[in-house]
Amino acid sequence: MLQSRSLRFALPVLLAMALLPLGVGGYILGLLTIGCYYAVFAMSWDLLFGFAGEVNFGPTFLIGVGAYTAALLNHYWLWPIPACLAVGSLAAVIGGLVLAVPALRLTGPYFGLVTLVAVLMLQNLLVLFAGITGGEIGLDLPDVLSIDETTNYYYAFGFMTVTGAILFGLSRSPVGLILQASGQDAVEAAALGFNVTKHKIAAFCISAFFSGLAGGMLVFYFSTASVGTVVDIAVGVNVIIAAVLGGRRTIIGAAVGAIFLVAAGELLRPIGQLATFVVSAFALVVILFFPGGFLGRLLQDGGRE
């Protein structure tokens, strides 16, 4: 029912995206490549917010730890890209655990505040140790994923599709059901015998893994790691807006929202600084008047009444 609705929506879009390189130029592909990585950020975030019920105000903490671990390993020790990515995503998971284990003991808005402070600390550290990290200018990497736009696009597209399938499948599985119950009413979930903290930490780890991996791939796509692209609070805010805009608790909606945001930002580039304002204003209107997001109506209502 819900599942087939989502799939009926997702499959044609994915098919069209897979055939896209046949028809469009490098510029658009480059744009969509970034869109796909943002989609992974947003989907990982939705798993935490939509399902585990925890608002992570600092998605770029996880993204940044993954990205910079991978970048530093490549820059200083010339590790091959796959090894950098593997260790980078592992670092994101460990960083996430260090943050989540104590933070999840808190209730109310405190978890969100902890995640927010974590990003600020990471950003500060990177700037403070500019001699090692490249600071605000960024860190150039010897390696790059590919110099061919089409190849890069397929890497990003494939990665997004696989991540989306895993996260979507997870959200519809029994584990996803337990996670939702834990997010909504922790006392009742515990009374049914579920270790709520364990499930939330698992969700946090999964979210951290995909965020860190996507962060790592993004810096290898640019061949440079900079605070402005993977750590800055503004990047995190965009990830959150993308997920809410697309539709909370849908996973797929988060991807749609992310690609929309990246595309809209680019389409409006001719109007200069105003572009950010227009996109933000649009997001505000959607959130205020259609809190279900783009896919809220499509995927949530009807079907099972």
């Binding site: 029994p174 337990i178 119950a181 009413d185 015998g193 579920f194 364990k198 949530q300 099972r304």
Partner: protein
Amino acid sequence: MALLKVAGLTKRFGGLVAVKEIGFSIAPGEILGLIGPNGSGKSTVMKCIMGIERPNAGSVEIDGIDVAGWPTHKIARQGVGIVFQHSRPLQRQTVLEHIKLALLPDNLLMLFTDHAVMRRAEEIAARVGLDRVMHRLPRTLPFAHLRRLELAKAIARNPKVVLVDEPFAGLTAGEVADFSNLIGSFRAEGHAVLLVDHNVKGVAALVDRVFAMYLGERVAEGTADEVMRNETVRAVYLGGKIETAARPERKGKGRTPLLEVRNAGVLYGKATALDDVSIHVGEGEFVSVVGLNGAGKTTLFNAISGLVPYSGAISWRGESLAGRTAGSIARGGIVQCPESRELFGDMTVRENLDLGGQHLEVAEAAKQLDWLFGLFPILQSRQGQNARTLSGGEQQMLAIARALMMKPKLLILDEPTLGLAPVILEQLSKALETLRQTTDITVLLGEQNVTFALPHADRVYVLEHSRIVWEGDPGRFAEEAGTGYL
């Protein structure tokens, strides 16, 4: 051997001893009723057994294993299940999926649902009478079905010990019979059942034994009959009877029209919540609107307070209220004290009251506060305590006191007795009577409890299925409208 054995259980919240050395045991196939008025500590005992609160001392043995102080999920797995009074079901999952959830093991690697699990969930749905709605979403179901869903989840865990919080709250007579049978089936299967409720009468037919608490301590134990005959229990519970008081006549009372509702109708989506309702309240009058749960009392009050859109006309002192905001209506003198109380839980009693008196002059507010402390002495002694930590009865008094701090012309009281024990009812009743005798306040009271609503009323409306079906003097209520109600 007993499945549940509680001994020396003590729980303190700061300086308040909520539960003091409570001990009892329940054998397989036995139902124990744990009863006590609001604030007696019975809910805290239940929470300590489930691990939602950590006891300060004592033991809770489940089938011989002491689980006191364990986290909730471990206690649940040891064989304890709970049927919560208020359920907050997941909005996007069907009834069947909720039951499935309760059948799942606590495992991070469960990625696919076993067919056997689905079949078992369907069986359980059928057992509790949800088989015809099992593919529907909870928000489309009536209250009684949601309670059945909670019961289904407890059945799914197949616990050795079942805790049921206020099993019959909010259910109609027919539903109560159904629920009794379902709870009785736990006994037949050899589970130990603990029913937590605030009066003996409600659970008397179902329980094997009753354990009565008051102010955190044990006051009696035995069969329902024994406990009901117990002197202490009678004193604690039944207290004095609520009696009809003589009404002081005032000049012009009820003559000057204050509030007039004409042909009011309210729709919630497609459902009619209020249908062509007309009532009027005169200055200084005490008017009661009686009706069962869901009859439309709260909807009527919300329409008057400007909280829901309505058709028809509502006027206040001859002027239409149409188009005015809820805030402006409240400032105009209509203050509603809602069923849900809406206190600021993390603020102290005093802060809650001060908020109500915001718009008053300092001296006037102090005077009003003094008068209220005279009306509700308990609030004076609880001034510095957070509202959340008050018992249900005290919270209700605070809600009324806060509303009175606003010096309303018309006070709307929505179900003030909801969930309160008889001894609290009596205190509340006395306070209302004092209010009525000593001030010229106008009151519109919505009640389900007729014995509480009638004694104070000058005039009574009966609301049934969104319509006013009777209006008249409380003295005539019993013979004309009381059949099937009293």
